[in-house]
Amino acid sequence: MRKEAKLGTPDVGVLGAVVVLLIVGVVMVFDASYAKTGDAKWANFDTWYMAKRQLVYAVVGLGAMAWVSTFRFSRLIKITLSLICISIVMLFAVMIPGVGHTVNGAYRWFNLGPIRVQPSEIAKLATVLYLAGLFSKRRRLVRRISGEWVGPVVIVGCIAGLIFAEPDLGTAMTIVGTAYIMLMAAGAMKRHLFGLATGACGLIGLAVLLEPYRMQRVWVWLNPWRDPYGDGYQIIHSLFALGSGGVTGVGLCLGREKLYIPAASTDFIFATLAEEIGLIGGVVLLGAFLFLVYRGLDIARRSKSTYGNLLAVGVTSIIGLQAVINVAVVSASIPATGVPLPFISYGGSSLVSMMLAAGILLAVSRQINVELEEKELYENGTDGRRDRRAHISGRKRRTSPARSRYRR
């Protein structure tokens, strides 16, 4: 192995945006939770219950981010396979009653002593790492539909399917969306992308039509007042929060709807934010996320290795997609799915995994100038094929006139 190049400086924009979002997150978690925790026995009537925990998670997350940002590509490639295996096993295990911890009928968590781990969070990052490695190693894979797609489709499908079965539609959507975006970034052909998109839409439509409860959810989305005390309850109060907030908001800590929204400090924290600091606050927050996306994609664009590029695109789209899905749910733009708002929502698993994603982004930004040789990818490959195929063999195809048409 050649000598490892020195790591560059991490991207200041990403770092700054993450820290600002973290601070906003701790403040908002306190704001959205104090009224409830101050009145709840499980929180020992402590108004600071959630804020204190969120602060600890934030510090742990910052440490994790700093640690991950020192990872070299080779190391990331090395751990990919084990991460994928671990997450699939965990996703299976979490479904077993007694092993997984259930909240409201959803098997999403493991209880590991005092902390609760959500395997889907690990699976998200594992998928990004896996796809980045896969697409950069076998570039022509994405150019043509072939039997070689079976492996990756099965793996990603398995992960997404298991998460979907938890059920955690939001995270499944994030993963599928991220995979799609990475496919796009990896240079998949437009007609494939379009085909995939239409196919996915059709599949979703079918799933909705076939399952009455999903249909119900769509109806509630279209008109939450169909079931104002059941499924529509949270979304109605979320809309109330947004409406009450108006342009300038009612003022920090003065929001009321956080008392009504059950998930006020987790998935619907944006509603509290938009009520208290108004449209201005909401748009600024969205701007902050878009800035993060911009910085992430800029890192991807500038990255000299395809691996780095895809990795950056993947983690950026995880963060960016989750944020936009979350706000879309809160504003009833799409049917309700449980997705936390990155860096803001209360919850250790989510926060730490988002910080890990940011850490990966920082790691890429520090290795922008690293040109990864294919050999390295093969040596640490994810599918164990190593040298069964000549490195050179793809070239002929890639340069064939028939394909070049699509590359322009």
Partner: protein, 597 residues
């Protein structure tokens, strides 16, 4: 190749950024739509959901007696309810709630398993029980508590039929609580407040729109001590004669103020809902009865006012006599086993001679007697303030056959209320001037200023002063030497009349066999009457004579009340008479001895 690849990557990342920007702008656009364009719509809806208007409860006024002693006050209570749909575990909840409320678990469980979603588990309970429920509200989803106030009657059964009681909503249900409800209840104010998700008021958001106006305090003319004396006397009577019911009215004849008004049997208004509703009835005011001999006073007063001499013989009584198609008989006592003989008005009152009264009535004529009955207030609705006053019943005089006229002369064949009869005796005691009886003395605002003072009602002269004085003399002689002797109060001059009326059958034909209404009415002291006391005992057992049954009650009430009112004695008491007698004897003895010695 590398550069081409990089070109593609650059292009695609730019695309991606555009795609993300598009998504973000779309969501931001949605936010603008919701927070700017639809803002008012959602804001109004949100406020409608979380804001509620509540009444600021007005405190109900207190009811006092004439000396400011409380008869009805408020205490803080708590009512416990359940929304059965919100209860997770009915059996567990009912066990816990039953323990807190000190009720039977099965009863609670039955209520929670009922078809109604909202049930009261306990109303107007001790405020401390409410506190306990409130402290455990997290463990008891679906069970709620509401603070309210409850009316309590510190004097218990005292004056229960006068004061009445309230319902769960603190609205008057019976008695003066009902009649004066609008004065007592005050006006609830209004406040708005925001609710949290468990429908609890957020204290900081309370905003009072209108303050409550507390109810006014009511001062009755009742004197609690005299009321107690009266009720005690009735209770003692009941022990002896077990009447179906009994009532007594004590009135100040000068002002018409009712100092005491008692009914037996009675009830405790603190537990009114567990008692029979018949007990709530203010019989002294609302029930008609045939007054019997006590009405002879009216006949006599009318005759005296018409100038008939009290010493003129009006009839010859042989015990029974056919009069105008009917028969009138007297009840005869020793020494008049063969009739009262020649009867004048004095004897008629003293010995309660029916035949004498019948002849007097016939002599006066229907029209005249009727007009006097009316003037004494027997045919008009009294406006004493009870709200349940009944009106005496009597046929029109042109429909009276002579026998009816004769009967009315001694108080049969017509009906009045004890309160009305008290009014008759008060009129005579007041020198022939009738004053409307009254029960409410004053209504005061909460700040102590008088809202309305009840001045003595309008005074109307019914009979001349001389006639009234003559009637008084007749009544006094009845107590001194006649049938009313048991009503004599030691050391007081007393005027009074007994009555032992037959009870009309319910179908209105004839009289019940062997049942009587025993009564005694009178006043003391005779020369300046302070108290008019009427005692009416319905169907006593053992004896039916007004003199035996009712007169001792009269004496009991009169003796104690006059002592309580510090009315000076106006005639030598028995003890004093004995002392004087002894003294006289001693002096006589000494003088004899001295003379002898």
């Amino acid at each position: 190749m590398a550069s081409r690849q990089r070109g593609l990557v650059k292009k695609r990342t730019t695309w991606l950024f555009l795609l993300f920007s598009l998504l973000y702008v779309a969501v931001a656009g949605r936010l603008v739509y919701l927070q700017v364009i639809k803002r008012d719509y959602y804001k109004a809806k949100a406020e409608r959901v979380r804001e509620r208007t509540y009444p600021v409860r007005a405190t109900r006024g207190t009811i006092y007696d004439r000396n400011g002693r409380a008869l009805a006050v408020n205490i803080d209570t708590a009512s416990v309810f359940a929304n059965t749909r919100d209860i997770r575990d009915i059996s567990k909840t009912s066990v816990r709630v039953a323990a807190l409320l000190d009720q039977d678990t099965n009863v609670i469980e039955e209520k929670l398993n009922g078809t109604r979603h909202f049930v009261w588990l306990g109303r107007q309970l001790d405020a401390r029980i409410g506190d306990r429920i409130w402290n455990e509200r997290n463990k008891l989803p679906g069970v709620g508590m509401q603070r309210d106030t409850k009316r309590i009657y510190p004097a218990g059964a005292l004056a229960a039929q006068i004061v009445g009681f309230t319902n769960y909503e603190n609205q008057g249900a019976e008695g003066l609580e009902r009649v004066l409800n609008s004065q007592l209840q005050g006006k609830n104010g209004k406040f708005t407040a925001e609710l949290d998700s468990e429908r609890r008021v957020i204290p900081e958001t309370r905003h009072v729109l209108k303050n409550a106006e507390d109810g006014r305090d009511v001062y009755l003319t009742i004197d609690m001590t005299i009321q107690h004396i009266t009720e005690q006397a009735l209770a003692e009577l009941a022990e002896k004669y077990h009447p179906r019911s009994a009532c007594a009215v004590v009135m100040d004849p000068r002002t018409g103020e009712i100092l005491a008004l008692a009914n037996y049997p009675t009830y405790d208004p603190n537990n009114a809902r567990k008692t029979k509703s018949a007990l709530w009835r203010n019989r002294a005011v609302a029930d008609l009865y045939e007054p019997g001999s006590t009405l002879k006073t009216v006949t006599a007063a009318a005759a005296l006012n018409e100038g008939i001499s009290p010493y003129q013989v009006i009839a010859h009584c042989t015990g029974r006599e056919k009069i105008a198609g009917g028969r009138v008989s007297c009840t005869l006592h020793h020494p008049f086993q063969n009739g009262h003989g020649g009867v004048d008005m004095l004897k008629m009152i003293q010995q309660s001679c029916n035949i004498g009264a019948a002849h007097l009535a016939l002599r006066l004529g229907a029209k005249k007697l009727y007009s006097y009955e009316k003037a004494f207030g027997l045919l008009d609705k009294p406006h004493a303030g009870f709200g349940c006053e009944a009106v005496g019943y009597m046929d029109k005089p042109d429909q009276w056959r002579p026998i009816r006229l004769a009967n009315i002369g001694f108080g049969q064949g017509m009906a009045v209320t004890p309160l009305q009869m008290t009014g008759v005796y008060a009129t005579i005691a007041n020198g022939g001037v009738r004053v409307e009886p009254q029960i409410v003395r004053e209504i005061k605002n909460r700040d102590g200023t008088t809202f309305r003072a009840f001045k003595p009602g309008k005074a109307t002269r019914v009979i001349s002063k001389d006639a009234a004085m003559s009637t008084m003399r007749l009544l006094k002689s009845c107590v001194d030497v006649g049938t009313g002797k048991p009503g004599k109060i030691d050391g007081r001059t007393v005027a009074g009349k007994t009555g032992s009326a037959q009870v009309a059958k319910e179908n209105g034909r004839g009289y019940e066999n062997g049942t009587f209404i025993a009564s005694f009415m009178g006043f003391a002291p005779v020369m300046s009457p302070r108290l008019v006391i009427a005692v009416v005992v319905n169907r006593p057992q053992g004896s039916h004579w007004g003199a035996t049954v009712a007169a001792p009650v009269f004496r009991e009430i009169g003796e104690k009340s006059l002592w309580y009112l510090k009315v000076p004695s106006d005639t030598p008491s028995n003890e004093e008479m004995r002392r004087q007698e002894n003294e006289r004897k001693r002096l006589a003895d000494r003088s004899i001895k001295g003379f002898a010695g």
